[in-house]
């Protein structure tokens, strides 16, 4: 069972920094991936938490939106943990895919590469693999179909209950 939870991750910031290392965006604690800066965590049940942390970074590198917090990338990939719990082949694909990514990234693995360009160069090597395509394909819906991210892009979603846009700016353009 995967849970995303807001609020305090249950560890002191000092302890987190001790465990995760200074400067790490995401911290591994037990079976959880934790974002100390933003006070959310993701608990994994089938995949290794390190794998989940790498998946989250990989998701951001595939569809980088600097204004979108990590939390939404975590939500977008958490389905792979659920699927891995039900399907050994899926679990193997993800774990092996991440292991391969880490291997190709050299010492310290994928998450140790400091620049997005460096990580993208590694992703380019695997972009035709079923692993990469499963992650990328899942993100198209998993990331962009989260109603919570729509306002970040200026998309307003459902409008019928508000009476459409007939009185809410369907023709309000002024700069033409």
């Amino acid at each position: 069972m995967v849970t995303i939870y807001d609020g305090k991750p249950g560890l002191s910031r000092r302890e987190l920094l001790k465990r995760g290392g200074i400067g790490a965006l995401l911290v591994i604690s037990g079976s959880a991936v934790i974002s100390p800066e933003h006070a959310w965590g993701l608990e994994t049940s089938a995949l290794k938490p390190e794998t989940m942390a790498t998946l989250i970074q990989m998701a951001r590198d595939i569809y980088p939106h600097d204004q979108v917090p990590d939390k939404y990338y975590a939500i977008a990939v958490k389905g792979h943990d659920e699927q891995a719990g039900k399907d050994a082949a899926h679990k193997a694909m993800i774990e092996d895919g991440i292991a391969d990514l880490d291997k190709k990234s050299g010492e310290g693995g994928y998450r140790a590469l400091g620049w997005e360009d460096q990580r993208v160069a590694v992703l380019k090597q695997i972009e035709t693999t079923p692993f990469f395509q499963a992650i990328r394909g899942g993100l198209v819906v998993g990331l962009y179909n989260q109603k919570e991210v729509w306002p970040i892009f200026g998309y307003e979603g459902e409008s019928y209950s508000k009476g459409g846009y007939i009185a809410r700016g369907f023709n309000d353009i002024e700069w033409l």
Binding site: E127, R136, V140, F153, E156, S159, G164, Y165, G169, F170
Partner: protein
Amino acid sequence: MAASFDLKNDGVVVIIGSGAGGGTLGNELAQKGIDVVILEAGARHEYEDFVNDEWDSFTQLAWKDKRTTSGDWRVAKDFPNLPAWIVKSVGGSTTHWAGASLRFQEHEFKTLSTYGKLKGANLLDWPITLAEMEPYYAKAEAKMGVTGTNDWPRLPGNNNFKVLKAGADKLGYKECHTGNMAINSVQRDDRNSCQQTGFCFQGCKWGAKWSTLYTEIPKGEATGHLEVRPNAMVIKINHDASGKVTGVVYADKDGKLQEQKARIVAVAGNSIESPRLLLNSESAKFPHGLANSSGQVGKNYMRHTTGSVYAIFEKPVHMYRGTTMAGIIRDEARHDPSRGFVGGYEFETLSLGLPFMAAFLDPGGWGRSFTTALDHYDHMAGLWIVGEDMPRAENRITLHADMKDEHGMPIADVHFDDHPNDTAMRNHAYKQASALYAAVGATRTFPTPPYPSTHNLGTNRMSEKAADGVVNKHGQAHDIKNLFVSDGSQFTTGAAENPTLTIVSLAIRQADYIAAQMSAKTI
């Protein structure tokens, strides 16, 4: 009160499909007192059930049954099992369509005569002319409440239209307006007017956009001569020793096979399912499928030469607000071979919500080139290209050799290769649209590849001679006089215009013909 007919009643007209063709034909016949059973593969969702959410609506309405694809079109690579974005629900794709209702141009009924023979294109003149169609176009426009006809005002232009219009003016285009739309601009026909909600593709929750679901079908049912049977997937049409069709076999809501007897059968399942059904109805007498002595069933699959251009501006546009297809430029719809291709195309505004923009802007694309486009989603304007594509014998629907659906019916394979004329037209349109948006200050434009097909046409083509096509000028099979085709698959060629108005006009015309033939007892 909706009728209910016995399975053994062999006096009914059975119509397969409830969309623009089938739904209209059903009502027209019912109004004349003819008993009709419409078998619809999908469920019945009324308009209050529609959802303003792209993926949820897709799940509710789309035809998602597996199909395969082949050919050089990009859809085969990006959406190998989703060649078409059409609907499986009562009302068919009239729940999903944008509402553009344009008459064909005169020369588009005579493409072989006008364009001449074109290598790799199976051009043919329609057996009907614009003059013959005009009275039926007028009836269809009146029925559907088409704006800009019958003194109905055009819709007000939204932000996306205003950008298009500003660009059209800069480029010198003359014919740019908010279109001829089957969307109520005023309350009429006991339906609301458009509230600029912006989810036309997801089914209009106001009922302002014409759909057979809440116009033709309830009107037909009110006569007591029409029964619509949802969740009825037809898999075979039966015939007798003389070759006349006698009924259809369908899987009911529980998957149980039933046979509905019929005096006449009209096929209106859209251009993938209709030929699939005819091909699957092969028999000892008709070894290549029903109505297929010409060998043309399934061939000449057309999907319009399409593509989109989205553009980003310095300041916000909010293109998703208001009608999805909010305006049109018609100047390029003319036939003018000096542009390097025959036939023409329309520009029509289009908008996708963020979830579908992510799926369709550049399928398979990733990285910053892709994401920086979406970062400016609210600064985007967009349009759709819809142009005449060339019919080709090898662009066709076939039955899959091995794969079958849950009822044991072979699934459809959709093969499509662009004709060089299609490619030349699309490239011309990309260039013009990019120039149009640049003229209004676009900082970046995106020539976006065609989506899964919404306009599926031509796979049971109409022809003067039986050797050249599947049906005659009334949509009646050349081979079997009590078998009709009533959807866009009967189109001989595709024209540049959105097909629905022509499908509806042909259905009205076909109803007159069927009624006359029934009275004369020739069928």
